[in-house]
């Protein structure tokens, strides 16, 4: 089964690219074929929640990393073969179109070339060392050795084929044995994904997480950073049953949101069985990941920002009440309301969260008063991102420290941008009423 998550989380983590911003997917996706890309996207949309499946994927990619694997097929040939094989002569309804002679000929030639490369690859020593793929490998060899495909191997990869033979091959490949050919293509796409992720692993020095069984409540990430940022600062954070809620404070621009994004991205990617941007990571498999970093309000359904937040907390409460273990993240919980409500709401929700020892919560907030109350709960831990002042210019270390901070530099930022100065000196048009301003 799959890890539970939602589009809000995927948007928050910026998994997929949007307009002008790169997504996490773009870092990992260096696959050579369209089929491989689709498969990779499906993996991003559906992380796993099964320890065996995660470990299996990690082991396969590790093996490919160790052999410094390269993708043995030609992407162009594969795309051509795929286009040819997936062409449907008899679509339901609609006008009947058929492939031209040329397309059929190229398609068949690319399929033949592909079969030859595939057999050579499957029998090579490299792929045989990947234990987890042994079953698939033998299955694929079995398909290739099917007596139906003997004529394919009788042809030379680049030989020209006669008109009559093309008709025969067309019936064989695209009609009689279509299912088997598709099965082989599917296998190749898998190899594509693994090889490209393995290459990215080497290129970016990513690490594979250690996976613990569900319910062991371990989440230790060391040296985690945001893979999309250049010169990103790494941080470490350990969570467990005795510290299942992290209360994060810090001034604006101190890097809270970025840290939260990098940490939860690592948790998400780890559940896919992919390597993460950190120096080491251990985690227990969970049932779901929900983040709330950029929550839009929605006038269409009549909800204000605060109400949107409340509904989001409620949704997570529902999941929790079903006994699931979740990773939950709220950036600036209840920022859409006044101070007093935000304090009371944050306290009530955080207190309730600390009782759920099998789930992990990270709450960032500006309301330091809530921290005092939360200290009474044993399982809450407190961290902050510090600000160092150089005269009037704030500098940020982006390094996590234990404790609570009441740093606030909003006015300094406003002043540094010179907003009030602009307003003071601007052309006020009419007469000034307030001489004292």
């Amino acid at each position: 089964m799959y890890l539970q998550t939602d589009t809000q989380t995927m948007d928050d983590l910026r998994l997929f690219s949007k307009a002008d911003t790169q997504g996490i997917y773009d870092i990992y996706n260096h696959s050579f074929t369209r089929g491989g890309q689709n498969m990779m996207e499906a993996m991003f949309r559906k992380p796993l929640n099964n320890r065996e499946a995660i470990i299996r994927r990690i082991n396969i990619i590790t093996a490919f990393v160790q052999m410094k694997a390269r993708f043995p097929f030609d992407g162009a040939v594969l795309d051509q073969a795929e286009k040819y094989i997936s062409f449907d002569d008899h679509p339901d309804g609609g006008t009947r179109v058929s492939l031209s002679e040329k397309e059929v000929q190229h398609g068949i030639m690319s399929v033949i070339a592909l079969f030859h490369t595939l057999r050579w690859y499957l029998e090579s020593a490299e792929i045989a060392t990947v234990k987890e793929l042994e079953e698939e490998r033998l299955a694929a060899i079995g398909v290739l050795n099917d007596p139906a495909f003997i004529p394919v191997f009788n042809e030379k990869p680049d030989a020209r084929i006669s008109f009559a033979a093309i008709t025969a091959f067309d019936v064989l490949i695209r009609n009689k044995e279509k299912r088997k050919v598709l099965q082989l293509l599917h296998f190749i796409y898998h190899i594509d994904v693994y090889v490209s992720v393995a290459q990215v692993t080497l290129q970016h020095n990513l690490v594979f997480p250690v996976v613990h069984p569900k319910g062991t409540n371990i989440l230790k990430v060391d040296g985690v950073y945001h893979p999309l940022l250049k010169n990103a600062v790494a941080n470490s954070l350990h969570m467990g049953p005795s510290r299942n809620l992290i209360f994060l404070t810090g001034a604006n621009m101190a890097g809270k949101s970025t840290f939260l994004r990098s940490f939860s991205t690592a948790v998400y990617i780890a559940h896919m069985g992919f390597p993460v941007a950190a120096t080491s990571m251990e985690f227990s498999v969970m049932d779901g990941v929900y983040t709330t970093i950029n929550l839009p309000d929605n006038l269409g359904i009549g909800a204000s920002h605060f109400y949107a937040e409340v509904l989001r907390v409620k949704k997570i409460g529902q999941e929790l009440s079903e006994g699931k273990s979740l990773f939950v993240l709220f950036d600036e919980l209840f920022r859409g309301t006044n101070v007093k409500d935000a304090l009371e709401g944050t306290l009530a929700v955080c207190n309730a969260f600390t009782n759920r020892k099998d789930s992990k919560f990270i709450i960032s907030s500006h309301i330091i008063e809530a921290a005092e109350e939360l200290r009474k709960k044993g399982s809450a831990a407190f961290y902050f991102l510090p600000t160092v002042m150089n005269g009037t210019v704030p500098a940020y270390t982006y390094t996590l420290q234990e404790g609570v901070t009441d740093d606030k530099h909003g006015m300094i930022i406003i002043n540094n941008e010179g907003i009030l100065e602009i307003l003071r000196q601007g052309n006020k048009g009419g007469t000034r009423l307030n001489k004292q301003l």
Partner: protein, 439 residues
């Protein structure tokens, strides 16, 4: 000088979006023809900033709203006519005739459809011209604000060779020579006049469909006055896209040009602000507004900040994104232009102390601009107390009525600063804490 509004403000007010339900454009887009839609697009994206021009357009809308004229043209015939008129090659009568005979010959020999197509387009053009003639004569009798334009177009229609086209019967056989003669007249000699007629058809389409929407929804037309008067007055102003929206009054002028808005969550602050912004924008394109009465000074731009998202790629935090937005607004205001500035929940991305200092400083800064209208909402009600020393700030709030334990919102504006705090109650009503604690 064009009217200033940026993409963010357009997005926040949900103005554009042909296919987005709930957008203001979607609400008004009831035109029948493609050329009408194109004209509507143009009107929507080019607000006017001249009071006289706005009032002129408003008068036309009002005239069509009262006169109950129905749009007589058929959309597909109009588009056939447009294709016909637009595909001109400015050829001489001889070439046209020769080409048509060739087309006819080919149509007889092969499956060539061009001759038939030409005939179809010509017939559609004749029918549309006839309808247009009828429409023009009707408008002339009504004696509306379009009189000059109507007269000019009627002069075209009364020309002898055009009359002949108008009098022809499309159900009677038509010789190829006649076809080529008309072709020459419509696509060459009188081509510019025909384009003008198409433009007129597009205009009537927009006028009729928009005034119909206005009539159905009880909208009204705003009166524009010169920008120097810095006046904004509306009664029963509401959000046009919300069914059963509650209307409120607003009155701003020099000396009371800052509106400080407070209220509990969900009380309707943002919606009220969007209503004001949309009303202003609609008024500037001369369209009807969702109010029962409205007078406004022409603005040179609208600047809103209602839902600012942060941008990690540009290295902005939420707070910084807001600061940048305010800075942009400050630069715009500092040019001395007459603007409408709206800030919803200023600095909501930061802690309370910062938000308090920031909101106060920025509101004070903007309130010195007597040539602008400035609306700010916040949940930090303490700022209101500090602003009371300024003479040109008016205070309004959206109240919450408690019925037992359930808050109810009236969406009706009251004078003063709110003291409602219902956030915790909403959390309790949703039963969230119990849910989390349930094993």
């Amino acid at each position: 000088m064009s009217f200033k509004i940026d993409r963010q403000s357009i997005g926040e007010l949900n103005l554009m979006g042909k296919f987005r339900q709930g957008s203001v454009y979607y609400l008004f887009n009831k035109v029948s023809t493609r050329i009408g839609e194109k004209l509507m697009d143009e009107m929507f994206s080019h607000p006017l900033n001249d009071a006289a021009a706005i009032n002129r357009r408003v008068a036309i809308f009002e005239f069509f709203g009262k006169s109950n004229i129905v749009f007589p043209f058929e959309a597909d015939q109009v588009s056939l006519m447009r294709e016909y008129i637009d595909t001109t090659a400015r050829r001489s009568q001889w070439v046209v005739t020769a080409d048509l005979y060739l087309q006819k010959l080919l149509a007889g020999l092969t499956k060539d459809g061009r001759f038939k197509n030409t005939l179809l387009q010509l017939q559609a053009t004749i029918v549309t011209l006839k309808k247009c003639f009828g429409m023009l004569e009707l408008l002339k009798r009504e004696n509306g604000p379009l009189q000059d334009r109507v007269d000019a177009l009627l002069t075209i229609m009364y020309q002898k060779d055009i009359r002949r086209i108008l009098d022809s019967d499309i159900y009677k056989p038509m010789s190829t020579r006649r076809v080529s003669e008309y072709d020459f007249l419509l696509r060459n000699r009188h081509n510019d006049a025909m384009k003008d007629i198409l433009q007129f058809i597009a205009e009537t389409d927009v006028y009729i469909s928009v005034s119909k929407v206005s009539r159905e929804r009880n909208f009204c037309y705003a009166t524009a006055v010169e920008k120097e008067e810095n006046l904004f007055h509306a009664r029963n102003l509401r959000h046009p896209c919300i069914a059963k929206a509650v209307g409120n009054d607003i009155a701003m002028k020099t000396g009371s040009n800052v509106l400080f808005l407070t209220g509990a969550n969900m009380a309707g602050k943002s919606t009220w602000m969007k209503s004001i912004g949309i009303g202003m924008y609609m008024a500037h394109i001369g369209f009807p507004v969702a109010a029962s009465e409205m007078v406004f000074s022409v603005r040179e731009g609208i600047f809103s900040s209602i839902n600012v998202a942060d941008n990690i790629a540009m290295g902005y935090s939420h707070f910084y994104a807001e600061v940048v937005r305010v800075k942009d607004a400050a630069i715009a205001a500092a040019t001395g232009e007459h603007l409408l500035l709206m800030f919803d929940e200023l600095f909501k991305g930061t802690n309370v102390k910062d938000a308090f200092d920031g909101t106060l400083a920025v509101t004070e800064g903007f309130s010195a601009y007597n040539n602008c209208l400035f609306i700010v909402s916040t949940h930090i009600i303490e700022v209101g107390e500090a602003l009371k020393k300024l003479p040109n700030v008016q205070f309004r709030f959206m109240p919450t009525v408690l019925e037992g334990n359930v808050p109810r919102y009236t969406y009706t504006l009251h004078e003063g600063i709110t003291e409602d705090r219902q956030g915790m109650m909403i959390i309790e009503n949703e039963g969230i804490i119990a849910l989390i604690n349930k094993m």
